[in-house]
């Protein structure tokens, strides 16, 4: 296991990206993860302010036409390996907003590689923790 993978699995630093068309609920639930009830910081997961410091990218919401180039650019700036989580129904499958005229014709998982899907509207914080733990587990197994 490389040093980077070891560090990543021990303490994943996450960057939260609201891809655009989100109802803000998944974003609030992600912040909820950091607060005392769930407190993922005890596992070493920290929310960071720059994609360049991040080990994992938490994407919420559908990708809209306006934000698609930004999402792509952010992924290009991320230091690899970087895990991408599609959080919530919108990020996983465009959900309810699939037929909207602002929805990007290319969905998130074709725009950038997605490593784990956490469905739900919004997914409960427990589900998100489970998703992150599973994705990290798959990295260790490799």
């Amino acid at each position: 296991m490389s040093l980077k993978i070891k560090a990543l699995t021990k303490s994943p630093w996450v960057y939260h990206l609201c891809a655009g068309g989100s109802c803000n609920n998944c974003d609030i639930e992600i912040l909820d993860l950091l607060t005392p009830r769930f407190d993922v910081e005890r596992f070493g997961a920290v929310l960071v302010g720059s994609i360049r410091h991040a080990d994992a990218l938490l994407v919420t919401g559908i990708v809209t036409k306006k934000t698609a180039p930004l999402v792509k650019k952010l992924w290009e700036q991320a230091p690899k390996p970087c895990l991408v989580f599609a959080i919530g129904g919108c990020a996983c499958s465009q959900g309810l907003f699939k037929d909207c005229y602002t929805a990007n014709p290319v969905p998130l998982d074709e725009l950038i590689p997605v490593h784990a899907y956490v469905p739900g509207c919004p997914p409960k914080p427990e589900t998100m923790i489970a998703g992150i733990v599973k994705a990290l587990g798959s990295l260790v197994a490799k």
Partner: protein, 397 residues
Amino acid sequence: MNDRRIIPIGPYHPLQEEPELFRLEVDGETVVDLDVEVGWNHRGIEKLCETKTYDQVPFVVERICGICSTSHPLAYVQAVEEAGDIEVPERALYIRTIIAELERIHSHLLWVGLAGHFLGYNTVWMWSWKYREPVLDICETVTGNRNHYAMMKVGGVRRDILPEHVDYILERIPELVKFTDLIKGAVLDDPVLHARLKGVGVMTTEDMHEYGGVGPTSRASGVPGDVRRDDPYAAYGLVDWDVITAPWGDVFAKAVVRVLEMYESIRIVKECLTKMPEGEIDSNPKTVPAGEGIGHHEAPRGEVFHYVRSDGTNRPIRHKIRAPTYMNLPTYKASVVGASITDATIILAAIDPCYCCTERMAVYKHKGDPREPIMTGEDLVRLSQEKTARLRKEFGL
């Protein structure tokens, strides 16, 4: 030499959950002008609603915003009920009020937390979000989900509040009061918060009248506007509660109004639970006759307004939404301009902005050219480039 600089905040910024772009024009440390660019979060919900049936639309409008996820459906169902002249059973009105007030409590707690976070005072953030969890527990017990409740339905509500849920909520309410007391103590007695919030971003009553702000933003400037009292709907006319106002107009006043409103919400929930009559919860309307209607609700951030036009088919032919942040955004012109750049973030956060609510279609019109009434994307890009060139010239770059 001109010392003006433009500081962009966003569209992706660690402070914000949603993409939005503020351009603060600063002269030294003082903000002299600002520009807000929204549209990153525009999804086309009004258009989407026109392709769904009346019973499907509540699920769509619920997903306009996760925090106002009862306000939008409530305003929408009232609009449809007005359009179709549909009766609602009294028990359903009480249930609507209870869910709406529970939402207000958790939304205000969320704001207090985020305000603390913006000030670099994370203890307040952690505290108020910790105390938000019991409210979410209640919501989950009653409705089955922490955030999107799916309770509103044209003609009533989808689920009843069972007797054991009533007991459960009444049991948890003393806990909520205790936590609210704690938050009130933290906000009203903390010297750090006083120093950071008092006299910051002042909106006078006259300013507020001119800019037309709504919700806690206007009530903190001494404008006692509240749709719940001005045009009672659901069970707000049947229970006893007060409109909270504060005269100062600064960020501190907004915090005080929100904290005290939580007490009122708890009072309303308690009273509704005890007064709630037995009976039907849904009048099961089968059709919506042709007509048009409006519905509004005092969301945690201000008045949510929905307009629905029906042509007698099973889908609305027009659905128009106005969210409170849209009315509150222009108040930045009065509150942020003149403030120091260090205070800008908290003033921007003070109206509790919610961009996913706000992102409606905007049409930019050409000035005085009737042949091309609407600007295209290219026009806007050109305008933007011209503006940059002009600014560069102005700044002597």
